[in-house]
Assembly symmetry: C3
């Protein structure tokens, strides 16, 4: 199999004479695979039970004739207008009781039995029709689950939530214990008394909230599994559904074991100078979800998107640099939304492989060049990426740390990103791991504000400290899986591993401009044997038991308190240092570790990563850069990508 | 007829002995006309079908005895409490399903058959009673249509929307084609499946949205036409309804042909130094709506209003300057809300002709002076204002460019205002025109971000370029009336007129502080033969076919790309230059055009405009200014208005 | 009786073996009283009508055995899940129609008859059981009335509102007159037509709004009185309910006469350097509510709370300084929420007397020290605080001045706080008084933006000016109790007292960043015989009749207009001067007044107040300070509190 190169193909938007031009231009661009029928429900089943497949037969036949494979969608992502009109019970409900309407897409409640019945009927019809079509190379279930609507608070959802809770807890007494309903008079007499966390006068029970997060993610997963089961009745082709990066509402660790291949939609903001780092982090997460298995970049944009307040374009070379970055970080497919830019509808200003201006445009020329280049890089397909460093990534921690009624408002992915970027700067590849995973293979394990850790995960981490280096940052292991304070105190047994006790929190998070009238929220500073650095967001008041104080707070009411400690190879960081501070700490943590770094010195905007035996060095900036790689100076033109073998 | 001078008179707020003082003070102030009964429904029909006219008889008789004309309202603007209590189906519904309640005003759905029935009954009673009353000089239908509630999403509204759509499209297939429902599985099987654009999980179909905007404007217009028809059964007096400037929700081009005289409510913010420009723009729009016919300034404030977060006062002279500005720009009436300042209710802090402090106040003294002055200026009544420059103003473009899911968030009136201000600075009078209007009479036509242009309008504009100079700015003719991308590419046939092709958008709009985490959105700069200037909001990547590049982008990722081009007298501007840049461009565009400018040089805060044979020169600033008019230096005291004949 | 020292004790969160440790540690810390069962409804009545008291018997017996008194809660603050599940009519409704759900706390409508029935049944059961228990020393009714939900817009609430209105007004004609329904066609035909101020197209009738504020405060008070009546059937022990400082939704003047002792919950933000002033103001208000009677600080935090966006900790000494401040300002009890920090639920990150880290922590050590110290200070119990200065504090003014459709958006407590701080800086103790109170005992009376004053209150104030000095600031007596403009003009008869007429408002309040596009809102400056100072928020254009102009506006469009005037000992201030300006004005107003000041010079962060014969001097800052007290220099360590007798 070659590398997938192509995009979403929605031919129902154009008359059939355009389809001829589409195939011709696809071949010119080196397209190998397209995703078809993602939003075609209304065209496949214009009224309930009446299916129209002729047009799709034609599309698939044409593509097959052109030698282009088809990632065939189950078309359930966006129900046609007749669904909501005939079955209002399919519509989702917000936490304030608002019933959403159609007119956009994804206007269904995951908990609606009617929706599930209609979706199942459609999938069965599609699979019956096309499971043997020679063009089809994979199945694409639904689309971006949870993207616009992940939590539905309907009565039908309430009933499903109760069943999920009963399955989880067995008895109402167990739920009461887990939720801590002793407080605020929340003790339930039966599961019937439990509701989704609809709008309430003040802070809702934290465990109720996270259980509703888990339930909502699982409810979407059940939809996926229903469709997959229908497919498996007739087809053994790979099944995927497109993820959307580090997405809060869906716990991809639970999902990844159910897909045959991970695929991802990736839309970093070109206006954000940090977007190459964010993109790399997302790619490493996708690769990690199934233990390093190659994955598909299922959607990206050739140029601007249309859904930000300001949609910056991708200047020349950006699309190529980010595409090869994905390849280098384990992707075996580089795909786009969408093939031909819409001329009407909500996404007409979303760029495409073939823009409004047609083939005689910068964008299409870049697409052609990339297609050719990927053809030449096909030897990399299937090669793996090896990492010596692991960073924990945990949806429970994400959901919990971003709740209200916590010490301050923190953004979990940003906390992780700052440390990820430290490695990126040094050309060190990182895997993401799940708390509780076997960590033995890694030279260094990082738990960055992993707020929630259960007994087993804490034990794993403590054990890993025997063989790996360990770096733990503030607000780790504060809560167990029920969001109770960790038994034995914050950090639990990691107190012994790290040699510290966390006694108080002193958050520094910037003042919410819309918040209550609070005083200024300054940053802080740390100094010590690694130098002097700024820090933000947080201070913890740490009592050192048997660790060494490496850095201390330098200013403010925590001045003199420990900020960075180590006990052997186990490090604790009680604040969020700035970029230079993180780099200094990582240099210290990694000293003599044997962890390979592909860049001798960090260079702004320059990334290096190895896949198989090829090292990719990428200059993401619009200016020239010189990187030092294995002692040799490497001059890089703007946006240049060098592949060294 | 003399110039109207007066205001809303709501005597039901006071006992009758106050009415005597009112008439006496009106006469002292030179009041000629008052608007009566705008909010009197509850006093005219305290319960359904029982009318009480005696008090209004008395008011009208007293005014007539004083020689004061009456602009008599139909009193339908604010239904009494019994309407909503007895008929909850009259209440408006928001897009999220919230049913609004009474307690304020305008709590009716334009789509409610019950409301229309009740309103019609009231209007008939009022007209029957007063059509022959000698005080009445005009009819004032309702009040500020759409001001607080323009879009109602009720089920009754949904039914009306379906009828409107069926009338527009004829068949559901035509609607599907216009709305581009091929995308996102939005194909409708019948009109029954269509709903108003209620809250939905993500971006709603753009054509559905703009059709709902059009429908909502039309539904209000139908209310007006219903009332007008009732009036016409008995009276041939002029009928008006008070507009509210450049107001997004109502397409005044469609309305203006239905009123006998345009009237406007105008409340520029005295704290905004740009308010004289904004006021002038609004006055020119009002004059343009009926082809230059004199109009009535129906409402303004003598001093502060009460509905802004901060309600600045009008310092001495401001009220006079803005009033004479209106006169100079075509108004034949200078009216206020309201005659006597309320002592209770929601508008008690809104200033009036007679303030809380009574007649011995600065405000009343200024009113008296202005009344006397307008009496002396009566010779101007009926004179016309002549413009050599036309700027397109288009509600479809407004509605479309401010939708979400566009390249960036732009504010249509601000885009037009920047260019309008360029002419204001130079003392050049401008007409506003509607796309598709005959443009032959103008020396220069400006299409400033006229986002939506249909085939006919583009053809008109291309044709105008044969006889007039043409200035087109970015984001013009991107979409057709169905909000599809213009056939043949952005600009359509204007590509030939202008000699350019627009290939990519690179918006620079300032970051929305509440938006997603995006990078900084800097301005840009342009330079070239006209000099060097700043620019903001936008960059287009333009391919020049056969035009001359006058200015180029000077910095950023578009550096070197064309920013201003000309092909003969057809100019294209791919960004929003700063005030000096716009002035330089206009100077170049107007060179040797014969367009008269009343100011030799722009002077901060100084405006000049000619009506008939009188030239008004106004200093809007609180400091002295010297203007050069026709080569002569003119010294202007603070807030001074000079009338030169 | 000794000083109360203790906190909320919620033992149902832990197994009974923890209770043993609780009692032991309470005794070690010197705890004298705890509040029990505030959130225990679900544990006392797990299903309707079935009560479980055994556990609470045990708790009370243990506490009594330890010699610890119990402030026993009626447990009605948070209904159990079965209440909402079985009786959805108990749930509150927002102004937009959203019905709130459970999951947090206080999910009841004050207007629900079902809720009142269930609450009454519970209180009766609790009082029957424990009215004779020897541990009980007081009754604690419900909790923080109105905290999360003060205004309920349900249909049942609408019916209650109509009854309240009928009681207030007697006839619908009287309501129409009071509400000014002559405007905007709001005339009501009957009380049936009146609704709560639910969401409406624009500004709701101001008197309707304030009547709904008054009604909502009264409806909560009725709940309290119902519970108190049940208690009084069986017990003569003191009854209280915990207030929450200067809280907008509840008019504590009306409440205070119904409680036997005032108690307060106080959570100043440790990150706010002004928090000692705000705390002092709240304490003086609490003392003033019942004419100087000692009060209970019922809740505070030892360290951080959990409900702000950023929850700063209390650094060493802060808790002690604020506790002794409360004692000095009249408190006879220093209590906390809560005894032992929760390990689950919505408040687990709210600090407690016994933190997560247990007894070997800075926090518990500080608790122990404070307990010992309060034991030694028991001699102060019952002593009174004497003030020579009175500041008006008025809920009607608060509700009215913060309405929309006013000249600008002002925050009433901030307006008062600025003047309060002027006295705090000088070590001058202040009482708060209610408009209409007898003011004869005070040397100086301050009306700071007392927006609403009825005839009687204005007369009182004018009369006070005969014997006391009087300081009135802008926006005082603008409205009467019906929110009509004061008869006779702004200020009413105070025009004569002050020798000025207020003719216009020129607000300077900072631009609302989310408001309409308005110009900049700069501050202003004043100068004159007291010096030159900055000022903000407001300018009034004042006509001086027979006063002396002390200070004038120095800049802007009001330059030269009077800013501070005096007529004998009656002063008027037409703006909000900065801190130095206020101090200068107070120095002038107080000259030769004999008002005692405890600090010779203001010192940043240093407070002085006298209770009985003890003068407390408190340094609230983390740095050393030197204060001059009665001519003697007093060196104060960081956070030091000195008690001088």
């Amino acid at each position: 199999m070659t590398i997938w190169f192509g995009g979403d193909y929605n031919p129902e938007q154009w008359p059939r004479d355009v389809w001829d031009e589409d195939i011709a231009l696809m071949l010119r661009a080196g397209v190998t695979v397209v995703t078809v029928a993602v939003f075609s429900w209304a065209w496949l089943e214009p009224e309930e039970g009446r299916f129209e497949f002729e047009w799709l037969d034609d599309v698939l036949d044409r593509l097959h004739a052109g030698g282009i494979g088809v990632d065939l969608a189950t078309a359930t992502a966006s129900p046609p207008p007749w669904v909501a009109h005939r079955y209002p019970d399919t519509l989702p409900v917000l936490s304030n009781g608002t019933v959403l309407s159609g007119g956009s897409r994804q206007q269904y409640s995951p908990h609606s039995a009617t929706f599930r019945r209609l979706a199942e009927s459609l999938v069965r019809a599609v699979v019956d029709r096309y499971s043997d079509h020679p063009a089809v190379v994979a199945w694409h279930v639904s689309n971006e689950y949870g993207c616009h609507l992940s939590h539905c608070y309907s009565d039908e959802g309430a009933a499903a939530f109760r069943i999920w809770l009963e399955r989880r807890y067995g008895s109402i007494e167990a739920l009461n214990a887990a939720w801590g309903t002793t407080f605020w008079s929340q003790r339930y007499g039966s599961f019937d008394e439990v509701y989704p966390p609809r709008d309430s006068p003040t802070f809702i029970n934290p465990t109720q909230l996270i259980d509703f997060d888990r339930f909502s993610s699982d409810a979407l997963l059940e939809l996926f599994l229903m469709e997959k089961a229908v497919i498996r009745e007739r087809s053994e082709l790979p099944v995927t559904t497109n993820f959307i990066g580090a997405f809060k509402a869906v716990d991809y660790w639970r999902w990844a074991r159910e897909v045959d291949v991970v695929s991802d939609d990736s839309y970093p903001d070109p206006a954000d100078p940090d977007s190459p780092v964010l993109a790399a982090m997302s790619r490493d997460l996708m690769r990690s979800l199934r233990g390093g298995q190659p994955w598909i970049l299922m959607e990206q944009a050739t140029n601007a998107v249309n859904w930000r307040p300001r949609n910056a374009r991708k200047t020349p070379g950006v699309n190529r640099a980010l595409s090869l970055q994905a390849l280098a970080r384990g992707a075996d497919g580089i795909m786009y939304f969408q093939w031909r830019q819409s001329t009407s509808g909500a996404e007409k200003f979303h760029s495409a492989m073939l823009p409004h201006g047609g083939a005689d445009t910068r964008i299409f020329r870049e697409v052609e060049q990339l297609g050719a280049e990927l053809g030449a890089l096909a030897w990399i397909e299937g090669d793996t990426v090896r990492a010596q460093v692991a960073i924990l990534f945990d949806w429970d921690s994400w959901w919990a740390i971003e709740q209200r009624a916590t010490p301050t408002q923190l953004a979990y992915p940003d906390l992780v990103r700052d440390w990820y970027r430290g490695f990126w700067d040094l050309g060190i590849t990182v895997d993401f791991v799940r708390p509780g995973d076997d960590l033995g293979a890694y030279a260094l394990v990082v738990a960055a504000s992993t707020f929630v850790l259960d007994d087993e995960a804490r034990a794993h981490l403590a054990a890993a400290a025997g063989s790996s280096r360990l770096l733990v940052t503030f607000q780790t292991a504060i809560l167990d899986r029920d969001l109770h304070i960790t038994a034995g105190g914050y950090l639990g047994e990691l107190q012994q591993t790290l040699g510290v006790v966390v006694e108080e929190f002193a958050p520094l998070a910037p003042a919410d401009p819309h918040g209550l009238g609070q005083g200024e929220a300054p940053g802080t500073a740390i100094d010590g044997e690694l130098g002097s650095f700024g820090a933000t967001l947080w201070q913890e008041i740490v009592r050192v038991v048997d660790a060494e104080v490496v850095m201390s707070f330098a200013v403010g009411d925590a001045a003199g308190e420990p900020a960075v400690t180590r006990k052997g190879d186990a490090w604790y960081v009680a604040t969020q240092p700035d970029r230079a501070g993180i780099r200094a700490i990582l240099n210290a943590v990694l000293a003599d570790s044997g962890v390979e770094r592909l860049l001798d010195e960090p260079v702004d905007g320059v990334e290096a990563v190895r896949r198989g035996d090829a090292t990719f060095v990428i200059n993401h900036r619009g200016e020239e850069r010189t990187a030092s790689v294995a002692g040799a100076a490497l001059a890089l033109a703007p946006r240049e990508v060098r592949v060294l073998r």
